[in-house]
Subunit: 550 residues, 2 copies
């Protein structure tokens, strides 16, 4: 395209979108605002900024150079926030280590990301000691022990975090560089294979932050985030940048509270004592907080919570609302920085009954600013937003991982056709709300149509003889895939019913619901038990693989 | 800097920040939302989007190619909004023509910007006809006459806007291209010389829009802009993108009202009938609306107005507040896209008396997201935000013109030292509020210190003999500049007071205020009258030039 590029006079500043640029506004408008760690430690944004300089000088003294990776192993803390800023602001890369992975997986991710410096909370010393001899690139370890001297450990530390910072100068000229420089890396784990690394640039994190602010800020009212909120994360900072909110909260100059390890008593105390008004968490955590003995009778009014990670049930939404919590849903994943959609209600929605609101708050939400989100058929053609046309959710935004680290094939698969494939199946309604219905790996793709395996299981399971059923798709030359229902019969029906009879029964039901082709193609096979994973989940992958080998 | 650039897998989409990307969210979430012209014509965002395709096909049929300039001469309308999007989305450049300039100036700007197509409201036909023969690059004219056939005119038109659109297809694949492609150009006029062209890229306009949304959206309450607002501009779309709000309003999917030419009755009718909740205007317009007979007794409650362009007086702020208008100030200029700062009040401010609030609302505001705004001394060293240290306001943001079009020296002057020079003088207080006190051309720079000529005029003017006074700075080898007060005496004092006596009197007063050096250096000269411009403004430039020649 022979467009005209704007000419820049030689002295003009060509402003790169760097993480350091998020700090201009809070330092100018809220330098005395407070950041707190567990309510025990408090400092101002001005001090935070000085500590970024001290930390960068500390890392520079350890030989950290632009392009190198610094790994962080800590619970949510002011130190983690300092890592979110200072490490990428130096031009280095922050690896946020998922401390809940196994030691072997952590070893793998540290070596794969080529971490050269590791910061570690003393709590994780035994774990780190068990893998330290096999770390291939790490040159230095920094202990995080709130100023205490290093504990007994085979690891030799460059020093303790607070002690090192105290000894360093606070003046550090964070340089300008290419906004496409890598800022972060972390790993996502699937059901099989090694963890996969996703990575994000300065530009991507700045734009994700700006879109979160623009989208959550301009919400009509419900669930909006504004400059007088008090923020506390309850999704870990090692997990997809704590959904990007530490960057957002800092840019807005709001009061921030970091809770350390997620202990229900601590979280509940901080919500109450620090008057927290905005958090985010997965449904399980919300459930845990609401049912914890300490929370009984506790007043949650004024606490807004963004729910994500897995589906929020309307029942949980309603329970939380009755306790005074103002919650709604967001949607995203590790590959997407993460936020893609938000379900803030408008003023019309807010006039509905609590029950109807709960249904809306549990929806997956509508695209944030700049998000091009589509539901597409297998040929990547967009499906209409009619509340029923179901396909894969694919997306383009300015903040998506541009691949998996050092994994060429997986990267191309992720971006097949120029859109990032979420591997989620769903539909969009007329108001633009996305509803996720299934994971793509559990969908049967027949002759260009996709049907949820869950829907077919519902039908087969209606027969009185069926104890358990799992429907999987098996390759078929003519149709692409054919659905196979693996059925465990109730004991009293074993030998009383043929596979053929159950198939015909189910096929008729399926035809009545309009998805006739799947009725014709359905196959039924009786099994003694369904394959399960070590934690008891139905393992469709194993079922498929067993049948492909045979 | 050897940073690590994020690797992109070949299929990954590298999302450019293009104006078309602002449309994803409104089209997904608010396709049935309404855009109205004067309340007479209404259509949905879905139709707006289809018309962008029709308009682009129309322009393409006229031979408009990427990199070419299309000039628009219209009052604020839906058509202007269509130009804001369709022209740059094609890769072409939109010239927003200031229809209030003289015919000669308009001729100059059209030729200087190399406009190839001109869209013109029939109201401006006589003006255009007077300069058409001297337009050097224009190939086609499009008439804007609300569907009516071309009026009698020596200009040959390619067609009428609505008729051309009606004949064009709505499908147009707006391409991807470099986000640094030029999107707009317009001209700013000073007291002397030819108009100067400023220009903005897609990236700049997208980031300005995102920062406006992030900053106005996350405001605690006062003056915030949200997705249920109803927007109507009252600063012209030809003037610095109507401060960027048409882009913002469209991205948020809000209801929009375009008022055509600014007639007080029309504006007041639309505010009332269309239930407008958000506008922006200069103080003069606000004054005019409040004092217009039609507005007497009219209810303005719920109308938020951003004031800019020139200083809002606390008195006008108070008057507007008493009428129910919720207003505050913004600051920017043609060179800055324009918005740099916003003065939204927080909830503590809102508890203050109306009089105290009026003082705050009249302040220039605090930096928007991503804005690096400084007050600097003549050596570009930043001054502390102490509410008194006064210097030039310089700025870096991602949305500043990278120069003046085809004006090398002026461009370098604008960006001297890597910051954009606003030519405004002011200070910053501890809360980060900027207060503009003067224009730099009227400031006296003595021995590295800057003093407002207005402050010195205040002192000299206190003498009972002084009818009028203007203080200018004249070059001085030792001091840089020395202040010279040109004084018109009251008739009864002529011959009764010497220049020397007045000088000594003023110098004593200046010393008492602490700026002693200016007291020592002050010179006084009696004159019969002060030089004025054709519109009656004090002309310090003429005074300085007269004394430099002599």
């Amino acid at each position: 395209m022979p467009v005209k590029i704007v000419p820049s006079t030689p002295s003009a500043y060509q402003y790169p979108l760097l993480i350091k640029q998020l700090l201009h506004t809070p330092l100018a408008t809220a330098p005395e605002q407070e950041i707190s760690y567990q309510g025990r430690l408090r400092y101002t944004y001005r001090e935070f900024n000085a500590r970024l300089g001290q930390f960068a000088n500390t890392l520079a003294a350890l030989g950290v150079a632009p392009g190198q990776t610094v790994a962080m192993m800590d619970w949510d803390s002011h130190r983690y926030l300092e890592c979110f800023f200072a490490v990428p602001m130096m031009g280095a890369i922050l690896q946020t280590v998922n401390v809940r992975l196994s030691a072997e997986q952590i070893l793998y991710t540290l070596n794969h990301a080529e971490a050269e410096v590791v910061l570690v909370n003393s709590e994780f010393l035994p774990l780190l000691a068990s893998i330290a001899p096999r770390l291939t690139r790490v040159r230095s370890f920094v202990l995080i022990a709130d100023g205490a001297p290093p504990a007994e450990s085979p690891i030799e530390f460059a020093g303790e975090y607070e002690a090192l910072l105290a000894a360093a100068g606070s003046r550090y000229d964070f340089p300008d560089f290419d906004e496409n420089a890598q800022a972060t890396v972390f790993y996502t784990t699937g059901t099989t294979g090694d963890p996969k690394g996703v990575y994000f640039s300065h530009r991507q994190l700045v734009l994700h932050t700006m879109s979160l602010a623009a989208s959550l800020g301009t919400a009509p009212g419900q669930g909006r985030f504004h400059r007088e909120d008090v923020y506390m994360p309850i999704t870990p900072m090692f997990h997809v940048h704590a959904w990007g909110f530490p960057y957002l909260a800092t840019m807005l100059g709001v009061r921030q509270v970091y809770p350390g390890k997620y202990m229900p008593e601590t979280l509940l105390r901080l919500i109450r004592e620090e008057k927290v008004t905005y958090s985010h968490c997965v449904p399980t955590i919300m459930q845990m907080l609401l049912t914890h003995p300490t929370s009984q009778g506790m007043e949650f009014t004024g606490w807004k919570v963004l729910i994500g990670g897995s589906a929020l049930t309307p029942a949980l939404a309603l329970t939380a609302m009755k306790r005074g919590i103002d919650l709604c849903t967001g949607y995203g994943m590790s590959e997407t920085c993460p936020v893609l959609t938000l379900a803030n209600l408008n003023s019309g929605d807010m006039r509905q009954s609590a029950e109807d609101q709960a249904l809306l708050r549990a929806k997956t939400g509508r695209p944030m600013m700049l998000v091009d989100l589509r539901v597409v058929d297998p040929d990547m053609a967009p499906l209409p937003p009619d509340g029923k046309s179901t396909g894969e959710v694919v997306v383009r935004t300015p903040w998506l991982t541009q691949g998996y680290l050092k994994a060429t094939d997986a990267s191309e698969g992720l971006w097949d056709g120029g859109y990032l494939h979420t591997q989620d199946i769903g539909y969009i309604d007329a108001r633009g709300f996305l509803k996720i219905t299934d994971r793509i790996k559990d969908v049967i793709k027949t002759a260009g149509e996709w049907t949820s395996s869950l829907a077919l299981e519902d039908v087969v399971g209606k027969h009185e003889a069926v104890a358990e059923v799992a429907v999987i798709g098996l390759p078929d030359e003519k149709w692409g895939e054919r659905p196979l229902a693996l059925v465990v019969l109730k004991p009293e029906f074993v030998g009383q019913l043929s596979e053929h009879a159950l198939r015909n029964h189910a096929a008729r039901l399926i035809e009545e619901t309009g998805t006739s082709r799947h009725g014709v193609l359905l196959q039924v096979q009786f099994v003694e038990a369904l394959a399960r994973t070590s934690v008891g989940k139905i393992n469709k992958r194993a079922m498929r693989e067993a049948r492909l080998k045979s």
